[in-house]
């Protein structure tokens, strides 16, 4: 199907590349169906684009590129909501906020987006007990 996107104009999206958030991401209650657009696969970024509303498009990053030691456990409840994924069928992204310049961009490591690719379900998970922040600098300040 062809969809209108915020950043890339009209894009042809396959139905198997659409994921459903159940429940919705926080503050985005009206939008459930998204697709990941990676116009440049060499970049650790993607656009999480609503297939229903062109203007709803979130910048997401591969957290492991920026923090190699990023790790968390999924609770039994999360696994059930994600339809019992095998580890290799999980994809993790985090939202990125770039208010002024990209150099000061932050990522939300406290609430990662977890996608079970085989079942096309996704959830934004809140890591209650993890030592992560919603505003973690993408690039830590360089020393010196």
């Amino acid at each position: 199907m062809k969809i209108q996107t915020a950043m890339l104009g009209e894009v042809d999206v396959q139905e198997q590349d659409v994921v459903t958030f159940e429940p919705a991401m926080y503050g985005l209650d009206e939008y459930r169906r998204f697709t990941l657009l990676r116009p440049d696969e060499t970049l650790p970024f993607a656009y999480l684009q609503s297939v229903e509303e062109a203007g709803v498009c979130l910048l997401v990053a591969d957290p492991f590129v920026f923090r190699a030691d990023y790790a968390f456990d999924l609770s039994e409840a999360d696994l059930a909501d994600l339809k019992q994924p095998a580890a290799e069928d999980l994809v993790i992204w985090v939202t990125v906020t770039a208010p002024d310049t990209l150099e000061t961009a932050t990522m939300n490591l406290l609430a990662p987006i977890v996608i079970h690719t085989k079942q096309q379900v996704a959830r934004q998970i809140v890591l209650h007990e993890a030592p992560y922040a919603t505003k973690t600098p993408l690039f830590p300040p360089k020393e010196g």
């Binding site: 440049d40 656009y47 498009c57 979130l58 910048l59 409840a77 906020t97 505003k135």
Partner: protein, 76 residues
């Protein structure tokens, strides 16, 4: 807003199946125990707001060109 007084060890029931128990009090901090079905999401209010704000922030998406330039600069 409904205002109730509770003692340590006492509970509230919200709806049919959410139970909030006052477990302890230390200074101005109260420790709560919450029993709810797992479909009910319970968060600290400020975390909920922070996540909403971060999601809203992510809606201001830079262009592909800007992302490419940024990564080039960082590699230097």
């Amino acid at each position: 807003m409904l205002v109730l007084k509770r003692k340590i060890g006492e509970s509230l029931i919200i709806g049919d199946n959410i139970e909030v128990t006052i477990l302890d009090k230390e200074g101005d901090t109260i420790k709560l125990g919450i029993r709810a079905p797992r479909t009910v999401r319970v968060y600290r209010q400020e975390i909920f707001e922070e996540i909403k704000k971060a999601n809203q922030g992510a809606l201001q998406t830079p262009s592909l060109q800007q992302l490419q330039n940024m990564m080039k600069r960082e590699e230097k």
